[in-house]
């Protein structure tokens, strides 16, 4: 009897398969649709809404989309527009209607809905004037349980939101909750998320640790509290390292994690460990190219007083990734001090490279270095090096750096910079023949100074101070540049 009673249930479970063919039918073409859509989207990184709708109608054989699908997609565009215009109120209004996509009869869309809703909803709640932490918490907790597939992501973002609002303890609790959450079999993407969650937890622990460390540094070693605090510091470090180390082994960009992890390792004297982490982070080919990885390694090696050749090799890679980085001037200094001739040549390249970037045009140190180094190179009979660098730049540097406009504004804003530039301009724009007089360095000097002076004279044209400025320049050239005591002969 009891078995018979349970029969219809079993039967219905089977018939679900038969019955759901309607939804399966729907599902099939829709997934195809999505693929077409994504290819349209990803193609050239451009988005053509009209093309997309066109494709949609083609894919469903010109049949009209259901009004439900039409209105909800219109609703989505309204939300996006409102978000773009920071109209949180309107966005919330439309969001109210958009929730129904969770009940979409199209299973593909229904499954995609939670993530979209979470993204839009959290954005609205982040900015909406009537929203607060409580509202956000409720929303996040609800969304976590709707799209279990997004549980971890939402948890993490929830924790970040709490962090943003300074609620460290709550954030930590959320992360711990997420960490212990179980769902089905582990997938690789989920594993990374769990690692990330743990690493964030580690980062929070690092924060506490570094606070404690600061406390410790204030305390006297004989203080009765010292040992307790020290113990505390140690405990934290241990937990953190466990939490973070798993993540940073996975290829990715983990700057804050690496940084804090290394700081802790260094603090406890594990220099080899720290170096290993940093070297791995910078050199492992599986990791995406990341300038910061090299910067961290360089700074670490510098702290460890590593040999110059090692520092140069690290910065060489950074030079290839970011030739305009401010460390390049340090790189130049290192190269200049090196014994190898190829390093000297590279030193010149680096300086030119830095000044190729618009953001560095007013860097007086760079100009000072260049002025000095070009002079040095010429005097060291490496005319070819300069020529090599200048060849690719002579078409655009004059208008890029040495234009009349720059002359005027530099002179007004920073006379020292103007002088350095003028000097370089003189050397580079001057007659190439003057570079060739290898045996007469004095002539070169005289020549270039003359040209520099001429350049400054030309600079000052139009500023109104016709007489004063050339004289000032002359004075500056005399005092600052003339280490050899060479005095140019001014024109009458």
């Amino acid at each position: 009897m009891s078995r018979a009673a349970s029969l219809p249930v079993i039967y219905s479970a089977q018939s679900v398969i038969g019955m759901s063919d309607f939804s399966e039918e729907l599902k099939g073409p829709v997934t195809d649709d999505e693929q077409v859509e994504t290819s349209v989207l990803s193609g050239a990184g451009m988005h053509f809404p009209w093309l997309q709708t066109y494709i949609e109608t083609v894919a469903i054989g010109g049949k009209r989309k259901k009004d439900f699908a039409q209105t909800t997609s219109a609703c989505l565009s309204f939300i996006q527009e409102a978000l773009l215009k920071h109209q949180w109120q309107q966005a919330a209004e439309y969001m109210h209607s958009y929730f129904q996509t969770l009940e979409d009869s199209d299973s593909y869309k229904r499954q995609a809905a939670p993530e979209i809703i979470w993204k839009l909803g959290s954005e609205i709640l982040f900015y909406h004037p009537k929203s607060n932490v409580e509202t956000f918490n409720t929303f996040a907790d609800r969304m976590k349980n709707i799209g279990i597939m997004n549980y971890l992501k939402i948890s993490l973002q929830h924790a970040l939101y709490l962090l943003h609002h300074g609620m460290l303890e709550d954030a930590k609790r959320k992360l711990s909750e997420a960490e212990t959450w179980r769902h089905g079999e582990k997938t690789s993407s989920r594993e990374i998320l769990i690692n990330l969650i743990q690493a964030y937890k580690g980062l929070l622990q690092y924060y506490t640790w570094s606070k404690k460390k600061r406390e410790l540094s204030k305390l006297d070693k004989d203080d009765y509290a010292y040992s307790a605090v020290a113990q505390d510091v140690f405990n934290h470090s241990w937990k953190t390292s466990v939490n973070i180390s798993a993540l940073i082994k996975i290829p990715g960009v983990w700057d804050p994690f690496v940084k804090s992890y290394v700081e802790m390792l260094e603090f406890y004297g594990d220099r080899d460990g720290a170096q290993e982490v940093l070297t791995n982070y910078a050199y492992d080919e599986k990791f995406p190219s990341n300038p910061n990885a090299h910067i961290y390694l360089y700074n670490f090696l510098k702290r460890q007083k590593a040999p110059r050749s090692k520092l140069i090799s690290v910065l060489k890679i950074l030079y290839q990734i970011v030739p305009s980085h401010k460390l390049m001037l340090e790189f130049h200094t290192l190269l200049r001090k090196s014994e190898k001739e190829e390093h000297h040549k590279l030193g010149l390249e680096v300086l030119f490279g830095v000044l190729d970037f618009a953001g560095c045009t007013k860097n007086i140190t760079a100009w000072k270095y260049l002025a000095k180094y070009v002079k040095k190179t010429l005097m060291g009979n490496h005319l070819v090096w300069v020529q090599e660098e200048w060849k690719s730049r002579k078409n655009w540097w004059p208008s890029f750096h040495f234009s009349y406009f720059w002359a005027k504004s530099d002179w007004k804003e920073d006379t020292a910079l103007a002088c350095e530039k003028a000097f370089v301009a003189g050397l580079l724009l001057g007659k190439e023949s003057s570079w060739r007089s290898k045996n007469r360095p004095q002539t070169i000097m005289a020549d270039s100074f003359f040209l520099a002076w001429m350049a400054i004279c030309m600079y000052s044209l139009g500023t109104g101070d016709r007489l004063e400025i050339p004289l000032a320049c002359l004075e500056m050239l005399r005092t600052s540049k003339l280490d050899g005591g060479w005095a140019p002969v001014p024109l009458e």
Partner: protein, 588 residues
């Protein structure tokens, strides 16, 4: 053990988190989902069958059984569901001011006739009792020789769907439909209704199966029979504005009428009705019911083009004087004749006039006659009118097309924007979620609950002023009054600027005309013309868009109707100069 197996079999609900049906037992004896590890509140009450007495098992059993019974609800048929929807719609129409006869006589009779024609009731061999003794009541259903009578037979004494539960399904229907329990238990598995599965599989030649859009065809047929002052586009607009139950109409079914499985496909709707679709269905239903010629549409009927033209001229703020011109066109084309206007389903080719679309098309034709709408003449005529109006401020102003365009464009854009926003905010889902089977039920309800909770949460973020509530139903969408200074009312403006006297008659100053369609298909295909927007003048596009928005139809449908009116109006030109196709001269 057997017992344990039984227990596991019992808990077949879907997991509320991942929708899987795969349960394991925790150490505490609670069910957990093996795929997502979600632990439920439900616990297996029998842990060890050797020790625990049978009492507990029985209790569990009883509980389930009771639940099953209450969840199952009443036995009901699909046609009863539609009957219920029709009942609601008829009620709504009554509330809109339609005469009570529509509900009590006309619609009721149409519906009965449908049940009879589709062999669901009122016949000797109802489809549900195949192979069984016919249980139909023969006494009440008399002759069915309607074709000979213009009046609908009112042979059934009981007024249609009076009140209370008994009326939810007609007594006769109910009696004739009862079938044995054995058949029920098999079919009820996949649908809440008794015949949901059977119904969705029914495919007979010539059978018009009931669908939700079809209910509107029934409504419209009844309105047409009664010659009520509601056009098809009005009806559909009222549906869209929620004045007439349509989307989720099933949620007002009695609590005990459970819907799921196949019922979802039958009663669930995720689209608003479409004009063309309902229009076709109307003809289909009328033909299927074998209805006699409808009462004549005469000049005093709302659906007569002269009256509708007046109505739409007012709606779009055009001068009253244009009415005499529209009447003239109606007369010339013969579109005002009762024979042309009256719906006759048993005629050779059953077709009914799209009264509203046709009236609007006449107005478009008149506008073309007056202003040519070639993006040129209308503006130069506007310049004339403007100059005249400036000089003669005291006189009745000449109608200025440009000014009208500016005002209408603004009003139209606003209206359309509001309409689009309202549509985007439309809530489609019913309070009663539809699910495929009992296994899905908890998931569906949980989803619903979550959506409601989320909506509640976000409604606190919205300004306290609700969005103007439900609009009261009106056959007018625009309102133009003389008092409104912001929006000029053109009703009283004169057409003097565009007409000239010649002898006793008035001629249009404009002597040119262009045809919306140059060639009609020779075959009898339905597609008369294709409307490629960019081929037409901007003024024409604007006017088509304006009117098609008012009627909630596609601009191409109106364009087609304009072409049809022109075909009638310029019959001779079409036959004489069929080959010449560009713009044609015309004299009145």
């Amino acid at each position: 053990s057997v017992l344990e197996e039984f227990q596991m079999e019992e808990f077949k609900e879907r997991c509320t988190q991942c929708e899987a049906v795969s349960w394991g037992l925790t150490d505490e004896g609670k069910y957990y989902c093996t795929s997502c590890h979600n632990v439920t509140e439900r616990s297996k009450e029998v842990i060890n069958s050797d020790i625990i007495p049978n009492a507990q098992i029985k209790a569990l059993n009883r509980g389930l059984k009771r639940k099953n019974n209450s969840e199952k609800g009443w036995d009901w048929y699909v046609c009863e569901g539609f009957q219920h929807i029709l009942y609601q719609q008829a009620e709504a129409l009554k509330n809109l001011g339609v005469g009570p006869e529509l509900k009590n006589d006309v619609l009721h009779n149409f519906w009965k006739r449908y049940l009879q024609k589709s062999k669901q009731a009122y016949c000797k061999n109802p489809v549900y009792t195949t192979g069984r003794k016919p249980t139909v009541l023969e006494d009440n259903l008399s002759h069915s020789d309607w074709a000979s009578e213009p009046e609908l037979p009112s042979d059934v004494n009981s007024p249609f769907l009076e009140s209370g539960m008994e009326s939810q399904s007609d007594v006769h229907t109910r009696k004739s439909l009862r079938i044995s329990k054995a058949l029920q238990s098999e079919t009820s598995v996949c649908s809440g209704s008794l015949d949901g599965v059977e119904y969705s599989q029914r495919k007979e030649k010539g059978l018009v199966k009931m669908t939700v859009p079809q209910t509107l065809a029934f409504c419209y047929l009844s309105l047409l029979w009664q010659r009520e002052a509601i056009t098809l586009s009005d009806l559909l607009r009222f549906v869209e504005e929620d004045h007439i139950p349509y989307i989720n109409a099933f949620q007002h079914f009695p609590e005990q009428m459970k819907l799921y499985g196949r019922d979802r496909g039958i009663f669930g709707t995720e689209s608003w009705p479409n004009y063309d679709d309902i229009y076709k269905k109307t003809i289909e239903v009328a033909t299927f019911l074998d209805l006699p010629r409808f009462p004549d549409i005469t000049e005093d009927c709302y659906l007569h083009p002269n009256i509708l033209c007046m109505k739409y001229l007012m709606e779009v703020n055009l001068p009253d004087e244009m009415h005499s011109l529209t009447c003239h066109v109606v007369k010339m084309t013969g579109m005002g004749e009762a024979d042309f206007l009256t719906f006759d389903p048993i005629a050779k080719v059953a077709k009914t006039v799209k009264y509203d679309v046709q009236a609007v098309a006449v107005i478009v034709v008149v506008l073309k006659l007056l202003f040519l709408l070639d993006d040129n003449l209308e503006w130069s005529l506007s310049n004339l009118a403007e100059k005249h109006n400036e000089k003669n401020k005291k006189d009745k102003p000449w109608f200025n097309f440009r000014k009208w365009y500016q005002i209408m464009k603004k009003a139209f854009d606003e209206k359309k924007q509001n309409w689009e926003e309202a549509r985007a905010k439309y809530l489609w889902k019913s309070e009663k979620p539809l699910y495929y089977s009992y296994v899905d039920k908890p998931v569906a309800y949980k989803k619903r609950e979550m959506v409601v909770n989320l909506q509640k949460q976000f409604s606190t973020l919205v300004d306290s002023t609700p969005t103007a509530g439900k609009k009261s139903p009106s056959s007018f969408q625009f309102n133009w009054t003389e008092e409104d200074t912001e929006r000029t009312c053109f009703h009283g403006h004169s057409l003097q600027g565009v007409l000239k006297e010649k002898g006793q008659s008035l001629l249009t100053k404009n002597s040119l005309y262009w045809l919306s369609t140059q060639k009609f298909c020779r075959c009898y295909c339905t597609h008369v013309t294709t409307y490629e927007e960019s081929n037409y003048s901007l003024s024409y596009q604007f006017i088509l868009n304006l009117f098609s928005f008012l009627l909630r139809i596609k601009a191409s449908l109106l364009h087609e109707e304009v072409s049809l009116v022109e075909k009638e109006l310029f019959k001779k030109k079409y036959s004489v100069t069929k080959k010449k196709s560009k713009s044609k001269k015309r004299r009145r």
